[in-house]
């Protein structure tokens, strides 16, 4: 009951965003479906005439479908040098190819050979036979394939949020990130309803067009084209600079600060594209010029992008200097000065639990490696300065390690499903859930300070950016950041408002 109420409240407060996302979702899904249909049906027809090559090609389509959808989305960014709707639509279309292709082929192939012979024997040309006999007879099977693809697309499109394509997935990702069911449901329920709705429309079209009337099919096609074409006309507004940001409250707040600062001092049009699912996704987007700037942590730049391990005990300045040189040498990128807060990794336990066991530092955990269950993010479990680093530097590993999404582990530790988690220093959860941060007594975790990362050529083009963004250098303390994150994650304040308020209160606009 409570959940439903909070979903309704959320819907009311986020109504305009909701409709935008629904529209994006429909737009993306229809475009992908149309692409899939317009490729797969002619291809299926062609294959039904060339049986010899049919099996290998359908096999390829089947292999494409076995690629995990998330991987396919990521792969498309690299392949197309773009983020957002285009790679999402291409990935979804590729994904939806198989059901339509296979059903078109099978539908035509399964027409009784005697019927084919009758048609041929009566003097129909191959094309006329296709149009008059084979396609009408295969139509129910083809439509079933289209419906399967459609449901697949509408569902998978929620993942497109991870590559900044928008859609209802934005709500779901936010919900997972903040462990907020209301957001998840506000994304998931409409997505499911959308799939259902499309299915019903397609069924009606199929029924009413049975036999020969092509009118309903034509009507639906026209409507789809209109939907697909609409945003091309209205949203065609280029920004001069696009600021990117990873998934979560903090990157989005920082990205918005950049935007306000740049817009305050220049005439440049700035937009924010946040919600990248991982460091790789954001960095790829930067590499292919889909975004121009994004805040990256110094520690991440070192370990994940340059694949260097900062020496234990390195100071914040040493790590930043090393990272800046590395980014300049290896990628020809400019890495401006970092802010003050250090959102390093931390190992966190429930305060009460830590007291019971008498654990204050990471080294204190050594006697309990068999009993304590770890809850790590996928990234932490894999990073040099993450779990493998703990094994190296502290010399012990844990018996049971659960990996999960970042948004879920706080809840997991709160309910006791896991005993400790990796966390970010500035996480709002630390405040909300009363978690104790264990001291990194061997200085494993390098400093993680946010700083703007961009291509050198972007800076060359807009040299003023350096001074503008360096205004934040050394600003924003850990407490400030925690407070702002809390505002977004728990008070559901819009990140851009939080960003603007901070800048206003601290006198950046003058």
């Amino acid at each position: 009951m409570n959940t439903i109420q909070s979903v309704i409240e959320l819907f009311q407060s986020r109504q305009s965003m909701f409709w935008t996302l629904v529209w994006e979702h429909i737009h993306m899904s229809l475009l992908a479906l149309l692409c899939a249909v317009f490729i797969a049906i002619p291809l299926g027809i062609y294959l039904s005439r060339k049986t010899k090559i049919a099996e290998p090609i359908i096999g390829i389509a089947a292999v494409l479908q076995t690629i995990p959808s998330l991987a396919l989305l990521g792969f498309m960014i690299l392949l197309l040098n773009k983020i957002g709707t285009l790679p999402a639509v291409v990935a979804l279309a590729v994904y939806a190819l198989l059901p339509v292709l296979r059903n078109t082929y099978t539908g035509i192939k399964e027409v009784d050979p005697a019927i084919i012979e009758a048609a041929t024997g009566m003097g129909m040309s191959s094309f006329r036979r296709l149009r008059k006999i084979e396609l009408p007879m295969a139509m129910p099977i083809i439509m079933a394939g289209i419906r399967t693809s459609m449901v697949l697309i509408v569902g998978t499109a929620t993942l497109a949020a991870l590559i900044s394509a928008g859609g209802l997935g934005d709500f779901i990702m936010t919900g997972i990130d903040r462990a907020d069911n209301a957001y998840i449901l506000l994304g998931a329920i409409p997505a499911a309803l959308l799939a259902l709705c499309f299915d019903i429309i397609l069924r009606i079209v199929e029924k009413t067009s049975q036999g020969k009337s092509l009118f309903p099919i034509g009507a639906v096609l026209t409507a789809s084209f209109l939907v697909v074409a609409a945003p091309l006309i209205s949203f065609d507004q280029e920004s001069d600079i696009i600021i990117g940001g990873k998934l979560g409250a903090e990157p989005e707040i920082i990205a918005n600060m950049y935007k306000y600062l740049i817009e305050d001092e220049t005439d440049l049009q700035v937009s924010v594209e946040s919600g990248f699912g991982s460091t790789d996704a954001a960095f790829n987007a930067l590499s292919v010029d889909e975004i121009d700037i994004y805040p990256e942590f110094t520690g991440t730049a070192m370990s994940a992008l340059l694949e260097k391990t900062p020496e234990s005990g390195s100071t914040e300045t040493e790590v930043y200097t090393q990272a800046r040189q590395g980014m300049a040498n290896e990628y020809n990128m400019a890495y401006l000065e970092p802010m003050k807060f250090n959102n390093t990794y931390a190992i966190a336990m429930r305060e009460q639990h830590a007291q019971e066991l008498g654990i204050q530092t990471i080294s204190d955990m050594e006697p309990y490696t068999d009993e304590l269950t770890a809850g790590f993010t996928f990234e932490f479990a894999d990073r040099e300065d993450g779990y493998p680093g703990i094994q190296d530097v502290y010399g012990f590993s844990f018996e049971t390690v659960e990996t999960m999404d970042a948004g879920l582990r706080t809840r997991a530790v709160e309910t006791g499903e896991v005993d400790f988690i990796d966390a970010y220093f500035t996480d709002a959860d630390m405040v909300e859930y009363n978690l104790r941060v264990l001291e990194d007594d061997k200085n494993l975790f390098p400093p993680y300070q946010g700083a703007p990362l961009m291509k050198q050529k972007t800076l060359d083009k807009h040299p003023r950016l350096e001074n503008i963004l360096n205004q934040l250098s050394g600003k924003i303390t850990n407490e400030d950041m925690q407070q702002m994150n809390y505002m977004v994650d728990y008070n559901d304040t819009d990140p851009s408002i939080v960003a603007r308020d901070y800048l206003t209160e601290n006198g950046f606009f003058e």
């Binding site: 009784d112 005697a114 041929t120 024997g121 009566m122 003097g123 007879m137």
Partner: protein, 355 residues
């Protein structure tokens, strides 16, 4: 007129389906191809509308090599009826029938009238059946529509590939009658494939017996039953006899009571029953009239077929006629003889059918 000239067909797997097939099918004739399965009859049929291309030889229609025709135009002029019926399930009955007229660009009105005309021809009410789908029809009705579909654009030739073999016996007989009647009315050249000898006998103007891709015998049903060329044909037609083709000598009574010697003439009554008179050498003298012998010209010969002989009974008002061989009376044949002969042969056929 369809002419096959040295037609052979060898399939890629090496099967020789048809070998050196040469014959001519006359215009307006119902020509039946018959033989055991695998004898090449269907292959031969499908070469007429170029569904199968012969490996060797040429087929001419009206003297023109069929390869000189546009393939589709050729097929529009050859109605095709399939064993599987194969009506187009997504189309209505009317649409099924109008497939070929539509392709040869008849006007909508012409097509519509033609559909009604054809449906009425086989007693299917157009108002009821036009807009039905094939599945709503019985098997017999479906194949009737199948035949109409083949006839729709008024082709000169109709080819039928075991069209009635999937139907129950009653429906089959009905459709056979329909086809026979249709053919006498519209005079199409029909090539008809079957494996059922009864059907061939009932329908065929001429029958072509095939075995292992070759023609074994071609002839009218009567010729084939009376003079099968070899054991294969005999076996295929079985002991089937067309009773009407039987010669008079098989039916007549050689020791008939209707024959008297001239010397016994005076001892008989004066009644005017038909009694035939012979001398001591069995020489035929004439018919008894009172105590006289009267000249009698209406006689049968032993080799005459029953079919022919019965007309002689119409000429003169008697129930029995004399059978003469070189003016010697060899027997008489009466209505009673005919009836008992028919009865015995029918019993034979029935017993065979049960075996």
């Amino acid at each position: 007129m369809i002419t096959f000239e040295n037609i052979s067909k060898e399939f890629p797997d090496g099967t020789k389906a048809v070998r050196q097939f040469t014959t001519t099918i006359q215009k307006g004739e119902l020509f039946v191809l018959i033989g055991p399965s695998g004898c090449g009859k269907t292959t031969t049929l499908k070469m007429i509308n170029r569904l199968i291309a012969p490996t060797n030889g040429t087929i001419y229609i009206e003297g023109v090599d069929i390869n000189n025709w546009n393939k589709q135009a050729l097929r529009w002029n050859i109605g095709y009826v399939l064993q599987q019926i194969a009506l187009f399930p997504t189309m209505t009955i009317a649409e099924n029938i109008s497939v070929v007229p539509d392709m040869v660009n008849w006007s909508k009105k012409e097509i519509s009238e033609r559909v009604d005309e054809l449906l009425r021809m086989v007693d299917l009410d157009p108002a009821t059946y036009r807009s039905r789908k094939p599945v709503e029809l019985s098997g017999g009705q479906q194949q009737r529509v199948g035949v109409l579909r083949a006839l729709a654009a008024d082709p000169n030739i109709l080819i039928m590939d075991e069209p009635f073999s999937a139907l129950d016996p009653l429906t089959r007989e009905q459709l056979q009658r329909d086809v026979k009647e249709l053919q006498s009315r519209i005079q199409k050249t029909i090539v008809f494939v079957t494996h059922d000898m009864d059907e061939a006998m009932a329908l065929g103007d001429r029958i072509c017996m095939m075995n292992e891709g070759k023609i074994v015998q071609i002839g009218t049903p009567a010729e084939i039953t009376r003079n099968p060329v070899n054991q294969f044909v005999k076996d295929f037609i079985g002991n089937r006899t067309n009773e009407w083709e039987s010669p008079v000598k098989d039916i007549m009574d050689p020791y008939s009571d209707y024959i008297v010697n001239i010397n016994e003439l005076l001892q008989l009554s004066l009644q005017n029953e038909p009694v035939y008179v012979i001398d001591n050498e069995s020489y035929f003298l004439g018919r008894k009239q009172g105590h006289e012998v009267m000249e009698h010209n209406i006689t049968l010969s032993p080799d005459m077929s029953l079919n022919q002989s019965i007309y002689y009974f119409d000429v003169i008002d008697v129930d029995v006629l004399p059978v003469l061989e070189n003016n010697t009376l060899v027997g008489t044949m009466s209505y009673k003889n005919i009836v008992s002969y028919m009865k015995s042969t029918t019993m034979d056929t029935k017993r065979k059918g049960e075996i």
